[in-house]
C-alpha cells in the first residue's frame, strides 16, 4: 500500500527538494502538494477539485504560507474531528521558540526545522520516513467520508 503524504509548502524549490529527498528515502511515498493553507484544507476536506483526494497518512506543514498561515491550518486540522487524527508534522525554516511552542500548543504532532544544508535536510526527511512510516503506528486509512 503506498503512503500518501500531504506537503503544504509554498516554495517550489523546497517542494522539489522535499520530493527528491523522499524519493531517496522511500520510493513508495505518494507526495501530494498544497501551495497554501486554503488549498491544503480543501484537499483535506475533499473540496472543489480535490473531491477525490486521498486521505494523507501524514501532513508536512510549513508555517509561513500565503493566504492562510500554517498555524491557522494546523489549528483547523486539529479542531476538526475528522482531520485531527492525521499526524501533522511542522516542517519549517523557523527555529523560533515561540513557533515551536505555538505549534505544539496547537497540537502539532512534531516540529522539525529545515536544515540549511542539503545533506542535513535529506537526513531529516529520512528520519521522518524512518520514524513515522516505519516505526510509528498510524491509524488505518478508513473509507470515511
Amino acid at each position: 500500500m503506498s503512503v500518501a503524504v500531504l506537503l503544504v509548502e509554498d516554495s517550489p524549490g523546497d517542494v522539489r527538494l522535499t520530493r527528491e529527498a523522499f524519493r531517496e528515502a522511500n520510493d513508495d511515498i505518494e507526495l501530494h502538494v498544497a501551495c497554501d493553507g486554503l488549498e491544503a484544507l480543501a484537499f483535506l476536506r475533499h473540496e472543489g477539485p480535490h473531491f477525490n483526494a486521498p486521505r494523507p497518512d501524514f501532513i508536512l506543514l510549513d508555517l509561513n504560507l500565503p493566504k492562510m498561515d500554517g498555524r491557522e491550518v494546523l489549528a483547523q486540522i486539529k479542531n476538526d474531528d475528522h482531520l485531527k487524527t492525521i499526524p501533522t508534522i511542522i516542517l519549517t525554516t523557523s527555529i523560533a521558540e515561540e513557533d515551536i511552542i505555538r505549534s505544539y500548543q496547537l497540537q502539532a504532532n512534531c516540529y522539525l526545522s529545515k536544515p540549511v544544508q542539503l545533506e542535513a535536510f535529506e537526513d531529516v526527511v529520512k528520519s521522518i520516513n524512518d520514524f513515522w512510516l516505519t516505526k510509528a503506528k498510524l491509524p488505518q486509512r478508513s473509507g470515511d467520508e
Binding site: S11, G13, L17, T93, V116, Q117, L118, E119, F121
Partner: protein, 1094 residues
C-alpha cells in the same frame, strides 16, 4: 494621898472579893445543876439496868423452867423461883423509876401482862413436868406461844431500853454541858477574882513602891536641901505641901536669933515681917502654894538685931513623879548688900547695857532659870515686846523650844557645861513674836558671869530672809532638779572640785551608770579629758574665770561609758550659783550620730572633691557669703591662681560681675531662691585672671547642700575659643555674604524652619523677587516641592541628618517665579553652621536651557535607540529572510553536483563546485550575521550561572573538533558569573574553537582559567599554544568579517570574534588578546561576578 490610895485599894479588893463571891455562887449553882443532870443520867442508867435485869430475870425464868423440864432437877426450880421474884422486883423498880416518863409508864401494863403470861405458861410447863413427866412438858415447851410472848416481851423491853438510851444520851450530854459550864463559870469567876486581886495587889504594890520611892526621893531631896541649906549663906527652909514650914536652916535661926520652938509659936511671922508687907507676902505665898508655882518675893525681914533688911525670898515646889507638889524648898537672900553692890554693878551694867543696846543683833540675856534678865531694843523690835514685858519672863515665851532645854541645868549637867556645848555655834530656832507669829532665828550663845551665876547672852538674828532665801533656794534647787530631769540632753552638775553633784536620767542613760554610782565621783570618770582641765580652778584662775571662758561654747569631747566604750559628746557649760558655791552645769549631747553624719559628709565631700578635680571644666564652690570655698585644678589653670590664693577670697575677685549679684541672698530673697532661678542656665560672664587679663566664661550653677549651708557649685567653661569662633563666624558670615553676592548662581540660605534667611542678587533675578520680599518667607514660595521636605527635620531625623543625605547632590526641582511661571532648577545644598543653628545654603541654577538640551538629547537618544533597534531588527530579518533563497541555491547546486558530477564536462563540474562553495559560504556568513544580530536582540536575562557548566556545554558542542584535532582542553576553577548562559556557551565555543582551528604544530593545548585580580569582575582567559597573532591586528580581529588568513588556509566567516566582542560587551565587560606569533594567544574577557555574596 494615903487615904486615897487606901480607898482605891480597898475598893479594888472589895470588888475582887465580890467578884469571887459571885463566881463562887454562880459555880455553886451551876454545880448543883450539873449534879442534877448527873443524877438524871444515873437515873436513866438505873432504869436501863432494871430493864436489863427484868429481861434477864424473865429469860432466867424461862431457862430455869426449861432446865427443870429437861432434867427434872429441883435445883432448877429454885432458880425459877428466884428468877420470878427478881422479875417482879425489877419490874417494880422500873415502874418506880419511870414514874416521870409517861411513855414508859404506858408500856408497863403490857410488860406486866406479858410477864404474867409467861409465868403462867412456865408454871404450866413445870406443872406438867411435875405431873406428867418429860414428854408432856416438852410438848408444852414446844408450844410456840411461850416463844411469842418472849419475843414480844423482848421487843417491848427493847423499845423501852431504846427510849431510856435516848434519854441517856440526852441527859449525859446535858450533864456534860452543865458540868462544862459550871467548870467554865468557876474558872472564869476564879480567874476574874484572881486577876482583880492581882491587879489590886500590884497597883497597891506599885503605889506603895512609888510612895516609897517618892518618900525616899523626898527624903533624899530634903536631905540634900538640908545639906545645901546648911552650907549657904541664905536662909533656907522646907515646907510641906500646905506650906507649913517644918524645917529651917541654921542661918535662919542665926538671923532671927530664935529657935524652932519660937517659930512654932503663933504670931511669930508678925514679929519678923514688916507690917506693911506681911499681908501681901502671905497672900502671894498662898497663891503660889495653890498654883504650885515658884514663889518669889522681895520683902524686908527683921533680924535679931532688929534691923529690917530686904530679903529676896524664893520657894520652889518639889513635885513627885506624878507632878504633885509634895514639898516646898525656900530661900531668903539678904539682898540689902547686894542691892548696894547692884547699884555699883548698875554702873557697869549700864555700860554693858549700852553695849547691848548698841549691838546690831537682838541680845537677850537669860539666867540659869531660863528667865530673860536683859534684852536690848533690837530684841524688843524683833519680838515686838516692850522690855519690861519680857524681863523676868521665861525665855520660852519668845523662844518656845530649843533654848531652855539646851541651856538650863536639868540635873544631869550644870549650866556651865550645857552652855559650853553651845557656845559659838549658831543654833537655828524659831522665834515667837508678841503677836503670835513665828519667825526663824539663829542664836549665838555666850556665857556671862554675874553675881546671879552664869547668865547666857544670846545674840538673836532674824534669819527670816535667809530662811526665805534658803527656802527659795531649795525651791529653786527643786525646780532646777525638775528642769534637770526634763532636759533632753544629759545634764551633769559638777562642783568646784570636779565632783559630780547631780545628774539627770538622760545622763544616766548616756553613760550607762546609776545615779548613785556617779554622784560624788569625779567627773573625770565619765569625761576623762577636757572637762576638768577647762573648768577647775587651778590656782591661776578661779573657777568663775575658768567657767566664764567656756560658757556658751559647745566643746567636743569624748565620753566614757560604764562598760568602757567611748562615744563623742558635745558639752555646753553654764554656771550655777548654789549654797555650795559655783557649780557647773554641763549639758551633754551624744553626738555619735552627728559625728557619723559629719564623717559621712566628709566622705561625700571627699568624693565630691574627687569629682571636682576630675571635672573637665573649672569648678568653683562658693558659699552664701560669696567666698570661694573650693576649687579644682582646672579652675586654678583657668584663672592662673593657686588654690590657696583663692580659697576664702570673694568670688568677685575672679568673676567681677554677674556671679555674686545673681546668687547671693540680698535680703529680698534667700540664697536658695536666688540659686533656683539660675540653675541649669549657662550664663556668660567675664573671668578675671591672676595677671589681670580677662577672658569670656560660661558658668553653669548647681546647688550643693552642706553642713555650712547651701553652697553653689559653678562649672566654669573658658569660652574664649568659642567666642573667637563666634566672632570668626561673624566675620565669616560677613565674608560669606560677600561670596553670596558674587556667586554666579542664585544663592538662597534657608534656616531650619524653612524660612529664607538670605539670598543674593542672582536669586532675585531668577525668581523675579526683591530681596526683602523673600527674606523671612518660607522657601516653599519659590520652590514649592522638594526642598523643604528633603531638608527640614521632621521629627524622625535632625536637620543635620536630613541635610547630610542631600549634600552634594544636585537636585532637580521646579522653581516658581513671582509671575507664577515655573522653570526647572537644579539646587546644590551645603550646610552652614551659624549661631542660629544649621542653615542650608542652596545654590540654585536655572537649568531651563540644560533641560531643553537634555530634552533634545533625550529625543536624539530615543531616535538612535529606535534606529538601532530598527537596524537590529533589519539585520535579523535580513538574515532570516536571506536564508531561504540561499538554501535553495545551496541545496540545488549540491544536488546538481551530486547527480551530475562526471555526467557533464569538467568545466561544468568546476562551475558547479564554485557555485556550491559560494552558496555554502553565503549560508555561513548569513548564519553568523544572524548570530551576531541575535546577541543583542535575542539575548536572555542575565542570571547567576556556572561558567564551568557553560564551558562544559561548549566543549560538548566542539567534541567532534576536539576529537578530530586531539586537542587537550584544561581549565582551572571557574566561578559563577552573572551572564546569559547561551551566549556564554557561544563565547566559550567560539574562543576554544578558534584555538583548535588556529593550532600550531603538534597537539594543541588549551587552558581556560578565571581570576579576580582585586576587581569586582572576573577575568577569564583562554590560552592556546597555536599560531599566535601579530600585535598590529589585535584590534582589527574583533571587527566584523575580519579575516587574517586566506580562504584556503582557514575557513571561517570572520564573525566569530565580532560575535564574542558583542557578547562580552552586552555583559558589560571587555575583551582583549595577548599573543606572540608562533607561541600562542591568550584571549581575555571580563564578566561580572554574581550579584549576591555566596
Amino acid at each position: 494621898m494615903k487615904s486615897f490610895l487606901d480607898r482605891t485599894v480597898r475598893l479594888v479588893f472589895g470588888f475582887a472579893i465580890f467578884a469571887l463571891l459571885v463566881a463562887g455562887a454562880a459555880s455553886y449553882r451551876w454545880m448543883a445543876v450539873s449534879d442534877e443532870s448527873n443524877r438524871w443520867v444515873q437515873h436513866t442508867h438505873a432504869v436501863l439496868e432494871n430493864l436489863n435485869g427484868l429481861l434477864f430475870s424473865l429469860l432466867s425464868v424461862e431457862s430455869s423452867a426449861r432446865g427443870f423440864v429437861t432434867t427434872g432437877d429441883e435445883f432448877y426450880l429454885a432458880i425459877y423461883d428466884a428468877s420470878q421474884l427478881n422479875a417482879r422486883q425489877d419490874e417494880a423498880a422500873v415502874r418506880s423509876l419511870t414514874v416521870d416518863n409517861p411513855n414508859q409508864q404506858a408500856k408497863l401494863p403490857v410488860v406486866e401482862s406479858l410477864i404474867a403470861a409467861k409465868i403462867q405458861l412456865t408454871e404450866k410447863v413445870i406443872g406438867l413436868r411435875k405431873s406428867q413427866g418429860f414428854e408432856a412438858s416438852l410438848n408444852a415447851v414446844r408450844d410456840r406461844h411461850g416463844q411469842e410472848i418472849m419475843t414480844e416481851f423482848q421487843a417491848l423491853i427493847g423499845t423501852m431500853k431504846d427510849e431510856e438510851l435516848r434519854l441517856l444520851v440526852m441527859r449525859e450530854a446535858d450533864a456534860r454541858r452543865r458540868t462544862q459550864q459550871a467548870r467554865v463559870i468557876l474558872l472564869f469567876g476564879m480567874a476574874v477574882g484572881v486577876l482583880i486581886a492581882a491587879g489590886a495587889g500590884w497597883s497597891a504594890n506599885r503605889e506603895a513602891a512609888a510612895r516609897n520611892v517618892a518618900e525616899n526621893a523626898q527624903h533624899e531631896g530634903e536631905d540634900r536641901f538640908r545639906d545645901l541649906a546648911n552650907n549657904i549663906s541664905q536662909l533656907a527652909w522646907m515646907a510641906d505641901s500646905n506650906g507649913s514650914i517644918f524645917w529651917y536652916n541654921q542661918r535662919w535661926f542665926d538671923y532671927f536669933g530664935c529657935t524652932a520652938e519660937d517659930i512654932a509659936m503663933p504670931g511669930w511671922e508678925k514679929g519678923v515681917h514688916h507690917p506693911d508687907y506681911l499681908e501681901r507676902v502671905l497672900d502671894k505665898f498662898r497663891r503660889s502654894l495653890k498654883a504650885g508655882e515658884i514663889w518669889e518675893d522681895t520683902f524686908p525681914l527683921r533680924g535679931a538685931d532688929g534691923v529690917y533688911r530686904n530679903f529676896l525670898s524664893r520657894a520652889v515646889p518639889i513635885r513627885d513623879a506624878k507632878g504633885k507638889v509634895v514639898r516646898w524648898f525656900g530661900t531668903n537672900t539678904d539682898i540689902s548688900e547686894i542691892q548696894q553692890s547692884e547699884k555699883n554693878l548698875a554702873g557697869s551694867e549700864d555700860r554693858y547695857r549700852g553695849l547691848l543696846e548698841a549691838a546690831p543683833d537682838a541680845m537677850v540675856v537669860v539666867n540659869q532659870s531660863g528667865e530673860i534678865v536683859l534684852l536690848n531694843v533690837q530684841a524688843e523690835k524683833q519680838f515686838g515686846y516692850n522690855r519690861d514685858e519680857l524681863a523676868g519672863q521665861s525665855v520660852e515665851s519668845i523662844i518656845p523650844e530649843g533654848f531652855a532645854e539646851r541651856l538650863v541645868a536639868d540635873g544631869t549637867r550644870t549650866a556651865a557645861e550645857a552652855l559650853a556645848q553651845q557656845i559659838g555655834t549658831g543654833i537655828e530656832l524659831s522665834g515667837l513674836r508678841k503677836d503670835g507669829s513665828e519667825f526663824p532665828i539663829e542664836i549665838m550663845l555666850s556665857p556671862l558671869e554675874s553675881a546671879d551665876g552664869v547668865l547666857v547672852t544670846a545674840a538673836i538674828r532674824d534669819i527670816s530672809v535667809r530662811k526665805d532665801a534658803e527656802k527659795h533656794l531649795a525651791q529653786t534647787e527643786a525646780r532646777y532638779r525638775g528642769l534637770l530631769e526634763a532636759a533632753p540632753d544629759g545634764m551633769v552638775v559638777v562642783n568646784k572640785r570636779g565632783d559630780i553633784v547631780l545628774l539627770n536620767a538622760r545622763a544616766e542613760k548616756q553613760f550607762r551608770y546609776w545615779r548613785d554610782e556617779l554622784i560624788g565621783k569625779k567627773v573625770k570618770s565619765i569625761i576623762p579629758e577636757g572637762f576638768a582641765e577647762r573648768l577647775i580652778a587651778d590656782g591661776t584662775r578661779t573657777a568663775v574665770e575658768a567657767l566664764a571662758q567656756q560658757i556658751g561654747m559647745g566643746i567636743e569631747l569624748i565620753g566614757l561609758r560604764k562598760d568602757g566604750s567611748e562615744f563623742p559628746i558635745e558639752i555646753m557649760l553654764s554656771p550655777l550659783e548654789s549654797t555650795e558655791g559655783i557649780l557647773v552645769t554641763a549639758a551633754i549631747r551624744d553626738i555619735t550620730v552627728r559625728k557619723e553624719a559629719e564623717s559621712h559628709l566628709a566622705q561625700m565631700e571627699g568624693r565630691y572633691r574627687g569629682l571636682l578635680e576630675a571635672a573637665p571644666d573649672g569648678m568653683v564652690v562658693v558659699n552664701q557669703a560669696g567666698e570661694i570655698v573650693l576649687l579644682n585644678a582646672q579652675a586654678e589653670n583657668q584663672f592662673g591662681y593657686r588654690r590657696d590664693e583663692l580659697i576664702g577670697q570673694r568670688v568677685t575677685s575672679i568673676i567681677p560681675e554677674g556671679f555674686a549679684e545673681r546668687l547671693i541672698a540680698d535680703g529680698t530673697r534667700t540664697a536658695a531662691e536666688a540659686l533656683a532661678q539660675q540653675i541649669g542656665t549657662g550664663i556668660e560672664l567675664i573671668g578675671l585672671r591672676n595677671d589681670g587679663s580677662e577672658f569670656p566664661i560660661e558658668i553653669m550653677l548647681s546647688p550643693l547642700e552642706s553642713t555650712e549651708g547651701i553652697l553653689v557649685t559653678a562649672a566654669i567653661r573658658d569660652i574664649t575659643v568659642r567666642k573667637e569662633a563666634e566672632r570668626h563666624l561673624g566675620q565669616m558670615e560677613g565674608r560669606y555674604r560677600g561670596l553670596l553676592e558674587a556667586a554666579p548662581d542664585g544663592m538662597v540660605v534657608v534656616n531650619q524652619a524653612g524660612e529664607i534667611v538670605l539670598l543674593n542678587a542672582q536669586a532675585e533675578n531668577q525668581f523675579g523677587y526683591r530681596r526683602d520680599e523673600l527674606i523671612g518667607q518660607r522657601v516653599t514660595n519659590i520652590i514649592p516641592e522638594g526642598f523643604a521636605e528633603r531638608l527640614i527635620a521632621d521629627g524622625t531625623r535632625t536637620a543635620a541628618e536630613a541635610l547630610a543625605q542631600q549634600i552634594g547632590m544636585g537636585i532637580e526641582l521646579i522653581g516658581l517665579r513671582k509671575d507664577r511661571s515655573e522653570f526647572p532648577i537644579e539646587i546644590m545644598l551645603s550646610p552652614l553652621e551659624s549661631t542660629e543653628g544649621i542653615l542650608v545654603t542652596a545654590a540654585i541654577r536655572d537649568i531651563t536651557v540644560r533641560k531643553d538640551a537634555e530634552g533634545h538629547l533625550v529625543e536624539k537618544i530615543e531616535e538612535l535607540n529606535r534606529s538601532n533597534e530598527e537596524l537590529e531588527q533589519f539585520a535579523y530579518l535580513a538574515s532570516h529572510d536571506l536564508q531561504e533563497p540561499l538554501r535553495m541555491v545551496a541545496s540545488y547546486t549540491q544536488l546538481l553536483s551530486r547527480r551530475y558530477k562526471g555526467k557533464l564536462d569538467s568545466d561544468a563540474d568546476e562551475f558547479i563546485a564554485f557555485a556550491v562553495d559560494g552558496a555554502n559560504r553565503m549560508q555561513r556568513l548569513i548564519q553568523d550575521l544572524l548570530s551576531y544580530s541575535r546577541v543583542g536582540k535575542k539575548g536572555q536575562e542575565l542570571l547567576d550561572i556556572s561558567s564551568d557548566g557553560a564551558l562544559q556545554k561548549a566543549l560538548f558542542n566542539l567534541s567532534v573538533a576536539i576529537k578530530h584535532s586531539g586537542a587537550l582542553v584544561t581549565h582551572g576553577d571557574l566561578p559563577d558569573v552573572n551572564a546569559d548562559e547561551i551566549q556564554l556557551i557561544q563565547l566559550f565555543q567560539n574562543l576554544v574553537g578558534n584555538a583548535i582551528k588556529y593550532q600550531g604544530p603538534g597537539i594543541p593545548h588549551i587552558h581556560v582559567s578565571a581570576a579576580r585580580n582585586g576587581s569586582p569582575k572576573w577575568t577569564f582567559s583562554v590560552q592556546d599554544d597555536g599560531l599566535g597573532i601579530d600585535p598590529q591586528f589585535f584590534e582589527r580581529i574583533f571587527g566584523m568579517f575580519q579575516r587574517l588568513h586566506k580562504r584556503d588556509e582557514f575557513d571561517g566567516t570572520g564573525m566569530g570574534l565580532a560575535i564574542c566582542k558583542k557578547i562580552v560587551e552586552r555583559h558589560g565587560g571587555s575583551i582583549s588578546v595577548e599573543s606572540k606569533p608562533g607561541l600562542g594567544s591568550t584571549f581575555s574577557f571580563t564578566l561580572a561576578a554574581i550579584k549576591k555574596k555566596p
